[in-house]
Symmetry: C2
Subunit: 113 residues, 2 copies
């Protein structure tokens, strides 16, 4: 999950970016569930903790996959959105979801796919 790629392999480099337990969960929430705010991500059933969520949002922002916006300054509200690069992960998430549905019994479709 750190910056330098372990090798020139596109699989290894992609995993360096999003290959951990939480990053793609956050991307999923934005891509399929339209979540935008910190509290919305916290409400997901996987129960990410606040420090991990902060660090993942920062990393995704640094990687150019997510944009952070202040959509209100008076109460100061933050929202997060996928950039075009972030949105391009859709086939990856889709393929993973299809595999999970087919091979892991305990999974079910949440309508959205």
């Amino acid at each position: 999950m750190d910056q330098p790629c372990r090798s020139a392999c596109p699989i290894a480099c992609t995993l360096d970016l999003v290959g951990d337990r939480w990053t793609l969960i956050v991307v999923r929430d934005m891509m399929f569930f339209g979540k935008e705010r910190f509290e919305e991500f916290l409400a997901s059933p996987e129960e990410i903790s606040t420090n991990i969520l902060t660090s993942r949002l920062r990393q995704l922002e640094a990687a150019g996959l997510v944009e952070r916006k202040l959509y209100s300054t008076r109460p100061r509200r933050t929202s997060y959105h996928l950039t075009e690069t972030g949105k391009s992960l859709r086939p990856v998430l889709k393929t993973i979801a299809v595999w999970g549905l087919r091979h892991l019994e305990q999974t079910r479709t949440p309508e959205q796919f």
Copy 2:
């Protein structure tokens, strides 16, 4: 990476199985580079350490994605192979590779794809 799924989401469950820095590297080595032996996995450019490799092979075996075989008892040699379930991860790996090649500059194709 532990057994119990965090939720019923197919993406989250799949990540519980293979969502870390190393598991899919090992699967990649078997799927695209035909690697089978412990020492072959160690030789990959990402340089996995022996204890992590052992634990990942055990987890993949426990998850039914990989089979372990003793192909020689006299010098006692072990080989690892993808099961049908393991092989079914090919589209996932492919999609990740395509994304990496398109969006990460430092990556290049190793012919095999």
